[in-house]
């Protein structure tokens, strides 16, 4: 097993910058954490999931699709260097796996995979959550994993790329510590999962009345933050800008919380109220995706609950649903 000591972190990642385009958890000037570059601020592996979705490395909020010049269509350019993206929690890795499936299914999203293919993914786990809380061990689905044991970072590798990156690091014998983290992770990993399963069952059994969604919808200001922060939200819009000598097509993250998202050409909208749109957002993740993909597509990364200014992120709504409608049935 390899180990990365805190004092070696800057040098380790700086060395990687010659081979990769780096995206790492960093601390910005006002204390906001993000997955950015070394120039953005000091590396900040501690602190848990970053507020923005880490999958933005492969599909930014807005990015080019193609440029049309005098009849020729030029695709958006490839990433110059391979991406190295660190900072995925275990739940983020689940999200990544889900959208990899999504973007590969049927019509393969070549723009996404131009960034994603060949990218090295590094997870973080161990005692590096908020205030040193435990983030469950990931155990795979990425190329390597940095496990915080409270003092330093144990480095676990799961692919050749991961092994290559960790090769130069010193060895350590920390099996006992790792075992302890693994045991603790087994309990921590399930927190919230049961709740979301129960919420999903309520929805699929049609036990949540429309009046509930009206209440939730009344608290939604359509900021779209829930969608824009969600790593498994994949919907996007497309726009064309006509310049003097060329036309640029770009695409941007879209939101099912917007009226225009589902509006038909006739002007009719089958989801014409906040209540219906809020219902759809949660229903899609907890009831529709299990039908199509065989799993709930909310992996409880927590971002929508953090970004929502009125407290109606998916976990909050699921808790309210379970509180109110499981009890009602029992009564």
């Amino acid at each position: 097993m390899k180990v990365l000591y805190p004092e070696h972190i800057p040098a380790f990642f700086t060395a990687l910058a010659s081979r990769f385009e780096l995206r790492l958890p960093v601390m910005l000037s006002d204390g906001t954490r993000t997955i950015g570059s070394l120039e953005d601020g000091p590396i900040a592996l501690m602190g848990g999931a970053v507020p923005g979705k880490p999958t933005a490395a492969f599909f930014p909020q807005q990015g080019p699709v193609f440029t049309a010049v005098e009849g020729a269509v030029l695709p958006s350019s490839d990433q110059a260097n391979r991406l190295f993206v660190a900072g995925f929690t275990g739940r983020d890795i689940d999200c990544l796996r889900f959208i990899d499936r999504f973007f590969a299914d049927g019509w393969r999203d070549d723009i996404y995979f131009r960034q994603r293919a060949g990218a090295v993914i590094a997870g973080v786990s161990g005692y590096c959550g908020p205030g040193g809380a435990l983030l469950p061990l990931i155990g795979g689905g990425c190329d390597l994993e940095f496990v915080c044991d409270g003092k330093c970072w144990l480095v676990l590798t799961y692919s050749q790329a991961g092994e290559g990156i960790a090769a130069e690091l010193p060895d350590t014998d920390a099996e006992e510590v790792l075992h302890q983290i693994r045991i603790e992770s087994l309990t921590a990993a399930n927190e919230g999962d049961e709740l979301i399963q129960r919420a999903s069952q309520l929805l699929r059994a049609n036990r949540v009345p429309d009046s509930f969604w009206s209440e939730i919808g009344d608290r939604c200001i359509s900021c779209t933050g829930c969608n824009l922060a969600c790593p498994t939200c994949t919907c996007f819009g497309v726009q064309d800008w006509r310049y003097a000598n060329n036309i640029e097509r770009s695409r941007m993250w879209d939101s099912c919380q917007l009226d225009g998202f589902m509006r038909e050409a006739s002007g009719h909208n089958p989801l014409g109220s906040e209540a219906l749109r809020t219902r759809r957002r949660i229903h899609h993740k907890l009831a529709a995706d299990p039908e199509r993909w065989g799993e709930i597509s909310c992996f409880l990364c927590g971002r929508c609950d953090v970004v929502c200014p009125t407290g109606i992120g998916i976990l909050a709504v699921a808790m309210e649903m379970v509180d109110r409608f499981e009890q009602e049935t029992i009564r």
Partner: protein, 678 residues
């Protein structure tokens, strides 16, 4: 990838986010998670605030009208032409024959510099900006009653209050992140009174929703104060120790029985009594208002009433209380603070005061400064229409869409000998100009904005402006230099702020190195002062809080058989003012693509109108075609039209009647007729 911390360019809430750029192109935003106002969230406009910046319509070179057509020109030629023609007009018609219109979208430094340019270089106090159209009645009314025309409390106070009275503010749509504080307050059990006849989102959460008639706010609040005094619910100690002129207020509201107020407001007397009791019973009560209070021919009286209600109940100078006008634009507070107003220098220091004139003249290196107050923007348009004003320099505003009575505004602008517009897009007003100067947008320059809670915050440059566009401050300095004035040479906006701080006591402690994280709230008089979240804590800025009694005056234009509907105007959630930025933002434009009129289904039924029918809406001043939107959001007899759309311009209909004290137009009430286009 690069991340640049900055402030949202839309409303006055002052949310903070990082602009994310890649290879000189913006690719998104990320909210600041530590910011005390936005706390990791944004509204839909904030999330999309990057998306217009690279639009292909951006102005990239100066334009000069030649043979009727705007054609590209060099900066040298354009700057020379502007200065020469302004000078020429002044030589023939006097210094006050030109007007400078500053911008609540521009930075503090730019507002200060345009103010300095007008006064020190062109020797006129004819400088104003769109605060005239939104909160001039607040500045007047609260200065009179409290001594300071700004929001008394902080946005964090919503987390501490027991009651919020929202009157004339659609907060979740117009100041969305403040709106969410109110929603959260209601959720935790704070009382919420919404006084607005539109059934806005907040009304769905309100303990009381008062749907009073447009323009009847004075009657409503006088009625509430009558109940409070009659039932002995006022804060006697506060009145005694902290206020003056109470007897006059008590006398004024003595005959404002709930029944009398009910007759004028269209409410039940019981509703007024209930509102009064609920407000007075709260330990900490906040009043929140916006354009529904200010944009009336009696806007100052409305503000006086809000101030009096808070004074009467002792709801000032403490956390969770206050009179909280929500400033509309990102930097409309700053535009006022910087003296982009006809009667004051920065920090509300009066031009009529010889000592102030002397202070600024000395600092600016000029022998004299003009002493007579200049023209308010609304009067300037009248003066242009009548030929008294000959030249106008407009920075970042679009009066052809935003001013009342569009035909009048068009005539005024057409009547000018010289119209110069400095902007980021060729707005409807810019398209009429003789000279157009291309400016950098907020993402392309350094500076500061001051939000509604008086928080001065850094705006930072994420990328270069397109083509030859320059920051507004650079253009203003170039104009000054060409006019032969050597007092506007700065290394950058930071140095401008140092000058502002040296001349402006309320900004005295402001310097860029002190604003790095989350800014400072003025008054901040010294470099070691940590800013002032709540005004009037120990004493009011003017000493004692003054009760200013207000008499009821109806709106200037009443409905009649010919024009049977009340038209009220405003904004939608997805667009910003005249749409120059939001209509060029894909997702926002998609949400609201066309002009519409909200009409109650009962009225629509009577007119045989169905949803999305094309309607012709006409007032005594003009007519427009807009799509019908049938909704119970409005009450029967009242229609609402947003003013974003050039092709269905609400301000073709509005009434250019002004409040006599603040010169704010009555955007909120005029009479219209409606028919279906067949």
């Amino acid at each position: 990838m690069k991340r640049t911390l900055t402030v949202c360019p839309y409303c006055g809430t002052g949310c903070s986010f990082y602009l994310v750029s890649d290879g000189g192109r913006l690719v998104g935003v990320e909210p600041s998670t530590t910011h005390p106002v936005s706390r990791g969230g944004l509204c839909v406009k904030g999330w999309n605030a990057f998306a217009f910046v690279h639009h292909s319509d951006r102005l990239t070179t100066p334009l000069i009208r030649r043979n009727g057509t705007l054609t590209p020109a060099s900066w040298d030629e354009a700057i020379g032409l502007v200065v020469d023609r302004l000078r020429s007009i002044q030589q023939r018609h006097g210094y006050d024959s030109v007007m400078f219109s500053s911008s609540a979208k521009a930075t503090n430094e730019e507002n200060y510099l345009l103010m300095k340019l007008a006064r020190a270089v062109f020797a006129t106090n004819n400088i104003d900006h769109c605060a005239r159209l939104c909160h001039s009645s607040t500045v007047f009314g609260l200065a009179e009653t409290f001594g300071s025309g700004a929001m008394t409390n902080s946005i964090s106070c919503f987390d501490q209050t027991d009651l919020i009275l929202v009157i004339g503010s659609n907060t979740t749509e117009q100041h969305p992140l403040i709106g969410t504080r109110i929603l959260n307050a209601a959720q935790r059990g704070a009382k919420l009174i919404v006084a607005d006849n539109r059934r806005i989102r907040l009304a769905r959460h309100a303990d009381l929703h008062l749907r009073h008639k447009n323009g009847s706010d004075v009657a409503l609040i006088n009625g509430m104060m009558h109940v409070i005094i009659t039932e002995g619910l006022m804060d006697r100690l506060f009145i005694e120790q902290r206020t003056e002129n109470y007897a006059a207020l008590a006398a004024n509201v003595a005959d404002w029985t709930p029944e009398r107020a009910a007759a004028l407001t269209g409410l039940e007397a019981d509703e007024i009594v209930a509102a009064a009791r609920m407000f007075a019973a709260a330990g900490r009560a906040m009043i929140v208002y916006s354009m529904g209070i200010t944009q009336h021919s009696h806007g100052v009286d409305n503000v006086r009433c809000c101030a009096a209600l808070s004074l009467l109940t002792g709801n000032l100078g403490r956390p969770g209380t206050g009179v909280n006008p929500l400033r509309g634009q990102n930097n409309v507070q700053g535009g006022c603070d910087m003296g982009a107003l006809p009667d004051v220098y920065s920090g509300y220091q009066k031009v009529a005061d010889p000592l102030q004139r002397q202070k600024f003249a000395r600092a600016w290196g000029v022998s004299t400064l003009p002493e007579r107050a200049g023209l308010p923007l609304t009067h300037a348009m009248d003066a242009a229409a009548s030929g008294l004003l000959r030249g106008m320099f407009i920075m970042g505003e679009n009066p052809l869409l935003s001013d009342p009575d569009q035909a009048h505004a068009r005539h005024a602008l057409e009547n000018l000998e010289l119209l110069v517009v400095q902007d980021i897009f060729l707005s409807e007003t810019a398209a009429m100009a003789d000279v157009v100067l291309p400016a950098a947008c907020y993402a392309e320059k350094e500076g500061t904005f001051t939000n509604t809670e008086r928080r001065i915050q850094r705006v930072r440059k994420a990328l270069d402006p397109p083509g030859e566009a320059l920051a507004d401050w650079e253009i203003i300095c170039a104009l000054a230099e060409r006019a032969g004035y050597g007092g506007m040479r700065y290394s950058g906006p930071s140095q401008v702020m140092d000058e502002i701080a040296s001349l402006t006591p309320i900004y005295g402690g402001i310097a860029y190195d002190r604003l790095d994280r989350h800014g400072l709230q003025w008054p901040c008089p010294g470099k070691s002062h940590s800013g002032t979240p709540i005004l009037h804590m120990e004493s009011f800025t003017r000493g004692l809080g003054r009760f200013s009694p207000a008499s009821y005056r109806p709106p200037a234009e009443a409905v009649d058989d010919e024009y049977p509907f009340v038209l009220t105007t405003g904004r939608t959630y997805f667009h910003w003012h005249t749409g120059t930025m939001t209509r060029r933002t894909h997702l926002l434009d998609r949400e609201e693509r066309t002009a519409f009129v909200e009409i109650h289904p009962d009225d629509a039924g009577r007119l045989d109108v169905r949803d999305r029918d094309e309607l012709l809406v006409a007032s005594r001043r003009g007519e427009i075609r807009v799509a019908a939107r049938l909704t119970a959001m409005v009450v029967p007899g009242v229609v609402f039209i947003p003013f974003h759309f050039a092709e269905g311009a609400a301000n073709a209909l509005t009434n250019n009647v002004l409040d006599p004290e603040s010169a704010i137009p009555e955007f909120k009430v005029c009479a219209v007729r409606i028919r279906r286009v067949v």
